[in-house]
Symmetry: C2
Subunit: 142 residues, 2 copies
Amino acid sequence: MSTAPEATVDALVQLSFAIQRILATVGAERELSVVQMRLLGIVRDRRIGMAELGLHLGLDKSSVTGLVTRAERRGLVQRSPSPDDGRAVHVTLTPLGRAWTEQGAAEVAAAIGELTAHLDADQRTALTSLAESLVSGPATPR
Amino acid sequence: MSTAPEATVDALVQLSFAIQRILATVGAERELSVVQMRLLGIVRDRRIGMAELGLHLGLDKSSVTGLVTRAERRGLVQRSPSPDDGRAVHVTLTPLGRAWTEQGAAEVAAAIGELTAHLDADQRTALTSLAESLVSGPATPR
DNA sequence: TATTGTTATACTCTATAACTATA
DNA sequence: TATAGTTATAGAGTATAACAATA
């Protein structure tokens, strides 16, 4: 049970808030919450049902129902019955939802670009690999 | 308008979710949301009123009213009238609130310690200073 | 007039429990 | 029986608008 030095804890917590603020700000331009943005991002590249969506988002299935219903009402996603399983539905992006998702992703990348603009190439590489190693554990050479 | 490379964007966004998940998990042990945790953390070292609290949290003052009321109802914070300004109130931690705040901070530090356990001292130092530089801009030597 | 804070209201977001339909 | 999803309900969290009290 290691405890990180206070400076490291503070820096990572503050950085996480800065990134979340970027996501919230980009979403707010289209009145999307961070969770709605994640929903669109997840549905973007997966063929997925409500249950699996709940796993990705860390939400109960009943919460996902409301989330998807609100996004559907706004014309961003669609429910369609699964051809394989009569109980299941698939959630997919509408053309509008796809456009917003791509624009949002570009705006997030631009804002993070501003945040990291003062780094040189080596620093950026170091930051990226350190961040990756925290998320997925130490590098796993194949 | 610089745009960060995709790998950097992904790594930072995923890292921010990992840190937020730690905060949410630690809070959940005491049925505290991340915002309630932030509230306690802000009140911990400042003598502060509702308006300034709203600025720190990025919330409207009416939202802060509800947030503080719920925390007060649970015995975590106290409102007290400002001696200087008849309109203002100060929000302070109760002994229980202080205990929870300190325990929570320790648990967050421990969890982030786990996350960074695989880093050696140099890597940890590099990560900390890179993260600090993103949050507060490039190093500003005095 | 401006500022501090609360109240009323409405909506999003979330979980729990109970339910329907399909596997 | 188990799984996929919805509905009903309750509560937290948020903003806007209107308000009271103080500066």
